[in-house]
């Protein structure tokens, strides 16, 4: 700081001190003490109201609740197949991932109604017999701007389904599908916790979760072809 600046500073301080005169001080503190209660109260009211809005009401408004078109029991099916998840969620010959099964895979067993479950009757009568695909709501569907390859992770990276999809394979029923009313995508991408706090690896599937795992395992943090990082590795 130059001497000129110091001089200016000193004079500014002197100017600030000058207007403070003793007679006015008691008048100012008097009403200030009297209004302190309501002001704090209103502050707290505003604070609480907005916290309730942000933490409780907002999540309820943001997500719609939808039941799956047909109920499905993963446990029951898992017991009957030999190859675990891959029995129905398999890789095609060209390495692409089949995702949610098509009717063609179900039809072998479900040509006719079996058992007495309501869901089974609905499935066979409304979809199998009419040849209509079930419009399953996919919890893990990423936005279209995200490129993700299952084969790179499951076959090459030897990852388990559970790491990203959790224990859905052990569920006896499908939970309601919660769609974000703004983006249209599933709540499971951001995670059930509105603050984005996660306890398990599958609780949230945002970009940071991808990179977290890639950094931790020190794998492919850029393009396989160019060996360079960049948005276009995943956002095609």
């Amino acid at each position: 700081m130059s001497t000129e600046d110091k001089a200016n500073e000193v004079s500014a301080e002197a100017q600030d001190q000058e207007p403070i005169t003793p007679p006015t001080a008691p008048e100012q503190t008097g009403p200030g003490q009297g209004a302190g209660g309501p002001i704090t109260l209103f502050f707290i009211l505003g604070l609480v109201a907005s916290l309730v809005l942000g933490w409780v009401i907002f999540p309820q408004l943001l997500y719609s609740h939808k039941e799956q078109p047909v109920q499905f029991n993963h446990v029951l099916h898992n017991e009957m197949v030999e190859d675990g998840c891959a029995s129905c969620h398999f890789f095609r010959e060209d390495g692409t991932y089949s995702g949610v099964p098509k009717l063609a895979q179900c039809i072998d067993c479900h040509e006719e109604v079996q058992g007495e479950s309501e869901a089974e009757a609905k499935f066979v009568n409304q979809y199998v017999l009419k040849g209509r695909e079930v419009p399953w709501l996919v919890y893990s569907r990423q936005p279209d701007c995200v490129f993700f390859s299952h084969v790179a992770h499951v076959k090459m990276g030897q990852m388990d389904c559970v790491t990203c999809h959790g224990d859905i394979g052990e569920s006896e029923s499908l939970k309601p599908y919660e769609a974000n009313r703004i983006t249209g995508y599933s709540r499971d991408i951001w995670g059930k916790n509105i603050a984005g706090i996660k306890f398990n690896s599958w609780d949230r599937m945002k970009m940071d979760d991808c990179s977290e795992c890639h950094v931790r395992g020190n794998v492919n943090q850029g393009s396989v072809q160019t060996k360079r990082g960049g948005c276009f590795v995943c956002h095609k």
Partner: protein, 737 residues
């Protein structure tokens, strides 16, 4: 407690603090950024299983194999079939854009009938009954010969079914759309006595002399020619282009030779003069395998000395002589002709002059030469039983005059049809079928064609699209598009081996359309009597499988069948003429002895310029209209928004007072149009050019109203020897708008 401004501010500050401490703002920022990148209306292809279906493209006669990529049951991309003998994985822009022809908005979705000038949807049954009733009436009145048909091809099962229908019904008037194929086939017939298709072993040649052929602009089988030209160049071969305009082919050539348009045949004869005079011709071929050489020699020595040809063509004598020596001195020279993409037949004399030039250097049935590819012979149906009406009908002369009198060697003369219809009181054609053709767009002087169509009581279009001809028709019986149907593709134009491609359904038909093959069979069966008896098939697909017999399995598996042993060199030089030799001259070759340059008629003082069309791979100019992908990819030197650019040599433009980029009025005897002027040094002074394939009046907003249709401005010019349209241009005037 007083609630004042301070309390309110305090509440707001508390609210702001609370909001900042809640996830609301952060979540909203995140969501809105995702929303803004994934708008619901952004088209996103559906995910699904990717499969490939091997098929054959039918959008031009190139016969390319295609590999159609589907995601679940939706076509997403058309690629060239790898290892296909014609295109070896290559695909042209039109083929690539074939998906737009399947899913585009211009499909005719159900049979339609025109009632008081308006289209009404009708059932297939009603449509077929209407035609059958009309045909029945004609037949019972002994007027079966008043039925005619225009079709793109006369080979393959669908054209053959039509032909069979015509024979057993009693009409000789099956007409094939004209192209250079007519003249090439005639040249082969007159000199070698064979009804066959020309095949060119371009990749094995070492000198291609092209008399205006657009080797990389859609001539014959476009992708095969692209590949062949590249192979020729890679091997160090030479390619010279004779053309009045610097086309893309000319630009890629070793030498661009500009001659007066219409005198190309004279140049070929002038070269023959030098080759014979200097003894450079192939003695083995001329001495052992040819006849009539003496007469031919006399013709070219007397009439086509380099100095005479120099005057006709505008080339210097030394240039003609050098070209002749280079050509004859090459190991495997090959001359080709047919202008641009070969849409217009041209003049037989030019084709004969060029074909005989090949004979002179021995490039007939020799590796790297031209070979006669036999017509497909797999269609072997039982003979038809014709009744008296059919026989009487077939005895009638053809309406277009082909096959008799001065046109006795010509098979089809579509270009004569409008004049024949317009000249009489009543149209000699009472019912006209149009399939795989769009004559109201592709024929010269479209106004006269439209007038003729108006006189025909019943025009039936089998087009999948609302094209110019469909719009003018009385009934439309829409065919499946090529991605929805089975069909045989019996040749690949210009490909030097017999080949059959199989077009197969890639998706279920999207609309209430029907295979034209099935429609013909059903029409015949509804007619009853001997007509029905000739069509014993249950369906077209059954007929196709039966016809292809032992080749069917190969076709299903590989997508094509090719006679790979066939080659030019393996062919005998025993020809099918009376003399069993290649005939340089005979009593039927009367076009050459009376050779004269093809001059475009018209008043030169009023129309001082010559307008020629040019072809580009970025425009479909046949019966298929360009899909949007092609129009979008057009250079702005061809089309600017809706204005076509006319290419003018700056010297010509200066004389006419025209400026680059400014509007002008282009007038021909056929009509006039507003165009934009483009200065182009690559065009001969006095000649101007516009592209083929624009100026559609029908189709959708992506194609209609863009540019000018060259055919609408042009006028046909009957070739004296064949009756085919020999015009290569039209007289024109260009003035400031």
């Amino acid at each position: 407690m007083k609630i004042d401004r301070r309390s309110f501010l305090s509440f707001a500050i508390g609210g702001a603090a609370g909001t900042a401490l809640s996830p609301l703002p952060w979540k909203l920022i995140d969501d809105s950024s995702i929303w803004s990148q994934n708008w619901a209306w952004t088209p996103v292809p559906k995910k699904g299983e990717t499969t490939y279906v091997n098929s054959t493209c039918t959008l031009c006669p190139g016969g390319c194999g295609i590999s159609v990529r589907r995601v679940d049951d939706r076509v997403v991309k058309i690629e060239g079939m790898k290892d296909h003998p014609v295109n070896e994985g290559g695909v042209c822009m039109l083929g690539l854009a074939g998906t737009q022809l399947l899913y585009g908005p211009n499909r005719v979705q159900t049979p339609k009938k025109k009632v008081n000038g308006k289209w009404r949807n009708i059932s297939w049954d009603a449509a077929l009954s209407e035609i059958v009733e009309k045909l029945g009436d004609l037949r019972s009145n002994g007027q079966s010969h008043n039925l005619a048909c225009i079709c793109d091809s006369d080979r393959g099962t669908v054209p053959e079914l039509l032909n069979r229908f015509f024979t057993v019904y009693g009409s000789p008037n099956f007409i094939r759309t004209p192209s250079i194929q007519d003249n090439y086939e005639l040249a082969l017939y007159l000199t070698q006595g064979v009804r066959a298709m020309p095949g060119f072993e371009i990749q094995d040649a070492d000198f291609i002399l092209s008399f205006g052929s657009g080797l990389i602009e859609g001539w014959e089988s476009p992708i095969y020619m692209f590949r062949a030209k590249s192979a020729l160049k890679e091997k160090g071969g030479r390619m010279d282009q004779i053309e009045p305009r610097l086309s893309k082919t000319a630009a890629k050539s070793d030498k661009w030779i500009v001659v007066n348009p219409g005198t190309e045949g004279a140049l070929a004869l002038g070269m023959a003069n030098v080759i014979i005079d200097e003894g450079l011709f192939n003695r083995d071929f001329v001495d052992n395998y040819s006849a009539g050489f003496a007469e031919y020699k006399k013709l070219v020595i007397d009439g086509f000395s380099p100095s005479i040809v120099s005057k006709m063509t505008g080339l210097e004598v030394a240039v003609i002589a050098r070209l002749a020596r280079d050509f004859a001195g090459s190991r495997k020279p090959l001359a080709i002709c047919g202008r641009g993409a070969g849409r217009n037949p041209g003049s037989l004399q030019d084709f004969l002059a060029v074909h005989i030039l090949n004979a002179l250097v021995g490039s007939i049935n020799r590796g790297g030469g031209i070979v006669a590819v036999p017509e497909p012979d797999y269609i072997d149906w039982p003979e038809v039983e014709m009744d008296a009406t059919a026989s009487a009908g077939m005895q009638h002369p053809r309406i277009d005059g082909a096959g008799r009198g001065k046109y006795k060697s010509t098979r089809y003369l579509l270009n004569r049809l409008p004049e024949v219809i317009n000249s009489g009181q009543e149209s000699p054609v009472q019912v006209l079928f149009v399939t795989d053709a769009n004559p109201l767009y592709t024929m010269a002087d479209t106004e006269a064609v439209a007038k003729a169509f108006d006189k025909i009581p019943l025009v039936v279009s089998f087009s999948s699209y609302m094209d110019e001809t469909s719009s003018k028709a009385d009934l439309i019986l829409p065919n499946h598009v090529f991605l929805e149907r089975f069909e045989d593709v019996p040749f690949a134009r210009g490909f030097p081996k017999p080949i059959i491609g199989l077009t197969r359904p890639v998706v279920e038909p999207l609309y209430n359309t029907r295979h034209t093959g099935d429609v013909i069979i059903q029409l015949a069966q509804k007619m009853g009597g001997p007509v029905a008896e000739a069509f014993a098939w249950d369906s077209y697909d059954a007929c196709l499988e039966e016809s292809l017999a032992d080749k069917w399995d190969t076709l299903l598996e590989d997508g094509y069948w090719v006679d790979s042993e066939f080659s030019a060199a393996a062919q005998t030089r025993q020809f099918e003429t009376d003399s069993s030799k290649f005939e340089f001259s005979n009593s039927d070759i009367n076009a050459l002895p009376v050779y004269h340059s093809v001059r475009i008629p018209g008043d030169e003082s009023f129309y001082p310029l010559l307008l020629v069309p040019y072809d580009t791979m970025r425009l479909a100019s046949g019966y298929i209209g360009s899909p949007p992908f092609l129009v979008k990819a057009l250079e702005d030197t061809v089309l600017k928004v809706n204005d076509v650019l006319v290419e003018v040599n700056p010297a010509t433009a200066k004389k006419l007072g025209l400026s680059h980029g400014k509007y002008a009025t282009l007038t021909t005897p056929g009509g006039s149009a507003k165009v934009k002027v483009r200065f182009f040094d690559g065009i001969m002074p006095g000649v101007i050019a516009i592209p083929r394939g624009l100026g559609h009046t029908a189709y959708d907003k992506f194609l209609a109203g863009k540019g000018v249709n060259y055919n609408a401005l042009s006028e046909p010019l009957e070739d004296a020897a064949t009756g085919l349209d020999a015009a290569w241009g039209v007289r024109a005037k260009l003035s400031k708008a």
